[in-house]
Subunit: 384 residues, 2 copies
């Protein structure tokens, strides 16, 4: 019997108190007890998103469902979208927009890199006007944290009418994210990442400006729309502590516990903790010959490439054999990329564990690695 | 402290073994352990649906998400739909079809009644051709079990090219349902009803004929489509034990346990048990002056109307005060309808409990009810 450890950038390990909440008897979604719980959860979600007092909507579905619902609420049929992408999830949002018949201009950057705000500005000026701009914040496939603050700033200047839709699936409660201060119009996230809940819930924040746009488009009959993924209907219901369709009540109960844990620690403290842990993970990898993949690392995932002659899938298999599940590289990054993560219910000792397992795996694969090289680097990084 | 009992037609009480499975550590959805679990769950789902060996797809979302995904996979843009409705959920599917710009002909019957197959045949001949027919099987808002077998039979005769889409959200594992023998094209259900799992998963079965139609429409570019609710993409992924977006892994783990319990008992035995329990619930209500609302009762819910002078919300409040949550009437049925249900993790003693609580509530509200009138009727019904 092997002890299992989930150290991937989502789904993540979940605190025991959250698991306990999932196992509570099911509560009817129209009962006063659930209404009270749901309103409290939505209030706390807004606090964790740093939009206290505003409404964050909960969608039963994966993060992709949340992004789709947001796109359909904010962008008119046939609208023009500038899609920034430098990884799998950015590409997904471009594909989604095309799927709905939107006119998509793509501005890509190589995997592992980030967007140059000047290029974004130029593209907005050259190809505009746009109804919306889509971007990832933490691009989970590459471990890059895009500078959404800078992108928002050039967007406001060069395309003041375009709404900025941000995939914050792995950045929420992991990286600094200030929707109001940065002027983000839509922020989407999911339960199974920094919020430390199993998958099945997505979250969508729309700014006042985004809602005004949505209302105007709806009154013109200009939205594409969906029946299930209808944030406008959800807004009306969720204000009353209800949902349009039956929500995943058990996951909501777990979310309530997780949000309390995060708010108790403080959102800023959570950001700092996760950044320090992730930096230590990167340092431990570098100490044994792995290289940083992301030019601007996201605290949600330590993207590391293997040295010449070492295939990433071989490392991943060796980690799996000792019960450790990390993220693999996706698509073009599959042969050389490792994506361990301490985004979930994880602490410094999980970093040390991962460092030790990486050492073992690389030694197994014939690398000359001194005992304790990775763990020492992790501990040194954590102490600084 | 009041002991809580959830006796509504979904969400339902969940077996302790299912709750325990929900509280297990989260498993990564790309891990071999999850792939194996997911393939087994899909195999068992097909057995419970009596389509062994065929593929039932799992959607992370509510039952509404499952119906929407099915509609978008099977009906062309601008297609013609005959929508049969005699209650809130039937109306929902008509509204959904209209929302997507389909041309909807509605054939309604009064709440509490069922569809006359001859009227369906006439409407199909008069207003056809149709691309699809939508109907509920167990209409949860009225407690009616529609005769889907008869509807399928007239549909095949009068509209051989129309696909029949069936909402089996509360009928799966509750009422006799034979997709193959009856020739149903699409069957949709959800986790939080007869399958005794918390809400958050929907299921969609498409017949070979429905998939052929879907494939033909897709090759013509005739489908409306969605990015998230894309059963065609899911079919390809789920065959491999994968999903296109991250699934609600904890609910899948719970579902696995629930399906084993149901298959152990046997689907036929489950149907008979639930029908007997529901019939006893109806008998207990009749014994204290309530009247059956459904002309053809679904085993999923005991729809009962209050006598003159007794408001249903008053009864519901009294039950809630002793910890018992039943379903309320919806829309036009709100003032007089009660919808208790033993669809979930419930047995004969839950029926007796409900009977006793109904007695108490009606006595409280001034009805002259002999002690034990409802419980005796329940026990008598169960013994017969």
């Amino acid at each position: 019997m092997i002890k299992q450890r989930l150290l991937a950038p989502g789904p993540v390990e979940v605190p025991p108190a959250v698991l306990e909440a999932l196992a509570r008897p099911v509560v009817h979604h129209r009962s006063p007890a659930f209404v009270e719980l749901f309103l409290a959860v939505r209030r706390r979600l807004a606090e964790v998103m740093l939009v206290p007092g505003e409404e964050v909507l909960v969608v039963t579905g994966s993060g992709t469902a949340g992004f789709e619902a947001s796109l359909l609420a904010a962008v008119p049929a046939g609208g023009r979208v500038l899609s920034l992408h430098a990884g799998k999830f950015g590409e997904r949002w471009a594909a989604m927009a095309r799927r709905f018949g939107l006119r998509v201009v793509e501005l890509s950057a190589p995997w592992g890199s980030t967007f140059d705000p000047d290029r974004v500005r130029d593209e907005l000026r050259r190809s505009g006007p746009f109804d919306a701009i889509t971007t990832t914040h933490s691009e989970t496939s590459t471990g890059v944290l895009h500078d959404v603050e800078a992108i928002a700033s050039v967007a406001r200047e060069a395309a003041p009418d375009a709404l900025l839709l941000v995939d914050a699936v792995t950045s929420l409660a992991a990286a600094e994210l200030r929707p109001r201060a940065w002027g983000l119009d839509v922020v989407v996230s999911g339960s199974q990442k920094g919020l430390m809940v199993p998958p099945g819930l997505a979250f969508a924040y729309l700014s006042e400006r985004a809602w005004q746009r949505s209302d105007a488009l709806a009154s013109e009959g200009a939205l594409i729309g969906s029946y299930y993924l209808d944030l406008r209907k959800e807004r009306a219901r969720q204000r009353e502590g209800q949902t349009a369709a039956t929500p995943a009540v058990s996951l909501v109960a777990g979310l309530d516990v997780a949000l309390r844990l995060l708010l108790e620690e403080g959102v800023d403290a959570v950001w700092r903790r996760r950044e320090a842990l992730n930096e230590a993970l990167l340092a431990s990898g570098e100490a044994v010959g792995l290289a940083r993949y992301a030019v601007r690392p996201s605290p949600a995932v330590a993207a590391l490439t293997t040295p010449n002659g070492i295939a990433a899938p071989d490392v991943i298999r060796r980690l799996a054999a000792v019960g450790i599940r990390i993220g693999a590289g996706q698509d073009e990054a599959k042969p050389r990329l490792l994506r361990p993560s301490v985004l979930g219910w994880a602490d410094r000792f999980d970093v040390v564990t991962l460092a030790a397992a990486l050492e073992d795996a690389l030694r197994d694969l014939g690398r000359d690695v001194a005992f304790g090289a990775a763990t020492a680097a992790a501990l040194r990084s954590l102490a600084s």
